[in-house]
Each structure stands twice: as C-alpha cells, then as structure tokens.
C-alpha cells in the first residue's frame, strides 16, 4: 500500500470524511474503468462504482493492510460486477473450467497479426472501440476481469490472484485463453468490416 493510501485509510477509519473523499477521487476512474469493461453499460458501471466505495467505507475497519488498498478495492469491484452480471442473467458464456485440462489446449495458440490482418491498423477509433466492446462481451466475467486488470490497470499476476482469490497459475491460464478469444473475436470483427466494405 502506498504511504499516501496508508495515511488516507487511517484517517478515513478515524472518521475523516475528507480523507475518504480523497480515496474516492483517487480511484474512481480506475474502478469505473473496470466496471465499464465488465458491464458495458455506463449507468450500471457508475452504480457499481458507487456501491464499491460504499462497501469500502462500510468495511474499512476490516481492511487489515495485508494486501494493498487498490487490490482490495478491485476485489470488491470485480465481485460486485460478477454479482451484477449473474443477477441480470447476462452471463451468456460459461466460465472456463480452470481445473479441467482441455483436450487440445496446447493447440490454442497466440496469433500473430499481419499488417492487413491487424484490427488496430484497419479500423478507426470508434470502430475499434466497438470491436473491443464486442470482443470483451464474448468472454466470461472472470476472463473479462483478468484482461481488464492486466491490460488496462497493469496488475501483476500475484495482484490479480489476490483480487480473484485464486492461484497465479489460474490467472495465467485465464489470461492466456482470454487473450486468445479476444484475438479471434477481433479478427472476426475485422473480417466483417472488410466484407461490409467490399
């Protein structure tokens, strides 16, 4: 935990509202970014962001400081998002069963992109954003969470394992398969775009 976070948490625990507000303002964009990536709806994402900070305030006394404040905050956020997805019945994909060795898993490989087959070069910003949103939607909630935490927030495997309360091996596996699925989805989006343009 950063020294500044440490100080703000201690002050917030002691009832300093201004300190807690500073924590909110410090992390609101990050929390919203994860929530939006998970839920793809601005209102739902803002609701989850609000609820995450309310929960943090409620349980601040229980935060023991063994993990960093932001991994604890992310854990709350990711769990709220997963609960929301399940409540809304929006979980249309099945979580990858991390405990089962998939037959042929070794053939699931990362793909290189050619200059022509690189979505980043072939789409404008708006199309790219739509393609990313659609690709993320093809992932299970847990796969979505690891992609966002790694690619956007730069969390390490150990930090993600702490957030998701699983092993580093599980995180690596989820991330590998999530990236593979994202690549396939983005290349499909590029193909659709090329077909439309033709």
């Amino acid at each position: 935990m950063t020294t500044e976070d440490n100080t703000l948490v201690a002050q917030a625990r002691a009832g300093d509202e201004r300190a807690f507000q500073q924590l909110v303002e410090r992390y609101q964009r990050k929390v919203y970014g994860v929530a939006f990536g998970m839920l793809h709806d601005p209102e739902d994402a803002m609701d989850v962001t609000q609820e995450a900070f309310i929960r943090v305030h409620r349980y601040l006394d229980r935060f023991q400081g063994t993990s960093s404040f932001f991994t604890w905050l992310y854990r709350i956020t990711v769990n709220l998002c997963i609960d929301h997805i399940r409540r809304e019945g929006k979980a249309q994909t099945v979580d990858y069963d991390d405990s089962v060795a998939h037959a042929g898993a070794e053939t699931s490989q990362l793909m290189p992109w050619s200059a022509d087959g690189n979505p980043a070069r072939s789409m404008d910003r708006k199309q790219l954003r739509q393609a990313i949103d659609r690709a993320l939607a093809t992932l299970s909630p847990k796969h979505r969470a690891v992609i966002l935490m790694r690619e956007v927030e730069g969390l390490s495997y150990a930090e993600m394992a702490e957030v998701m309360q699983c092993s580093k091996g599980t995180i690596m596996s989820r991330l590998f398969h999530a990236r593979r699925r994202m690549q396939v989805a983005l290349l499909d989006a590029l193909e659709d775009k090329n077909k439309t343009a033709a």
Binding site: L110, W113, R129, E151, M172, F176, Q183
Partner: protein, 165 residues
C-alpha cells in the same frame, strides 16, 4: 521456437513475469524467431486497443456527482447488524478461540483426570492341592482384591462321602 508451452512463456515475458535470466533467454529466442516477434507484436497491439477503448469510456463518464452519491449511500447504510458483526468476529477470531479452547481442554484433561488404576481383574490361578486319597483340594488365587492385592481360597472336597454335602 515451438508453440503451445512456449506461447505461455511468451505471455509471461510480455507481462514481465519472468525472472531476469529466463527473460533474457526468451528475448534471445524472440529475436531469432519471426513468428514469436509477430505474436508479441499482436499482444502489444491488442493491449493498446483495450487501453484505448477503456480510456475513451472513462473519459466519457461524468464523475461530478459520484462523491455526493457515495456520501448519501454511506449515510443511508444501516449499521452492521449483530449477525454481521458476530460473523466478522468469528471469522477473525474464531480459529484463535477454537484453538485456545482445544488446548485448554487438553491441559485440563491431563491435570484433572484420575490417577491410573488398573481395572479389577477376574483372573484366578487354579492349582490342585494334595490332601490325600479321600479328598480333592483346589487352591484358587484371585488377583486384584483384598488388602494384599490377592485372595486365596482353598477348597477341599472329601470324596468318601459322595452325595452328601
């Protein structure tokens, strides 16, 4: 570079999760393998796209009212109920209390249990006693009773008066 397992090494290298020596080796392999360089480039490209999409979404959000909403939510939150507080206390201290209780129970048992006494035995040693031709003698020695810790019974039956008691 072979695929499959190596792709996982590539991923770990890309994410900065390899130890320095292993990372150096992977970097050398990547430099010598166009396919591996292509896969790394694809991962970099995808990371850039995901970051860009996320940044755009966050830039569009209005955080102006968030603190007010959080504050209102905190004010309207009911205080932690007895069940929640008890549950938290049990989760935090339950293991400690259970272990201490078990340890105390063991100590108490060791200190307070009665001194070990062998259970009374019903074993008896039976020996014959030579009391002459007209009687049968039997010595019964029973352990674990009496002041001396054993009881001896000598039984003599006169065989000449058979049928009479």
């Amino acid at each position: 570079m072979t695929r499959g397992k190596d792709d996982r090494d590539l991923q770990r290298y890309f994410d900065g999760e390899l130890r320095p020596r292993r990372a150096r080796r992977i970097r050398e392999e990547i430099e010598a393998d166009a396919g591996a360089r292509g896969r790394i480039a694809a991962l970099e490209s995808m990371r850039g796209m995901v970051r860009s999409a996320s940044a755009d979404a966050v830039d569009e959000a209005d955080f102006g009212g968030l603190w007010a909403r959080v504050r209102a939510g905190i004010e309207h939150e009911p205080p932690l109920g007895l069940r929640e507080r008890l549950g938290f206390w049990l989760r935090r201290w339950g293991v400690v209390v259970a272990t201490a209780s078990a340890a105390a129970a063991v100590v108490l048992f060791v200190l307070v249990r009665p001194a070990h006494r062998p259970p009374p035995s019903n074993d008896a040693v039976i020996e014959s006693l030579d009391v002459g031709p007209e009687a049968v003698g039997t010595i019964f020695t029973i352990a674990g009773s009496g002041e001396t810790g054993q009881t001896t019974v000598i039984w003599v039956t006169e065989t000449s008066a058979e049928g009479e008691e």
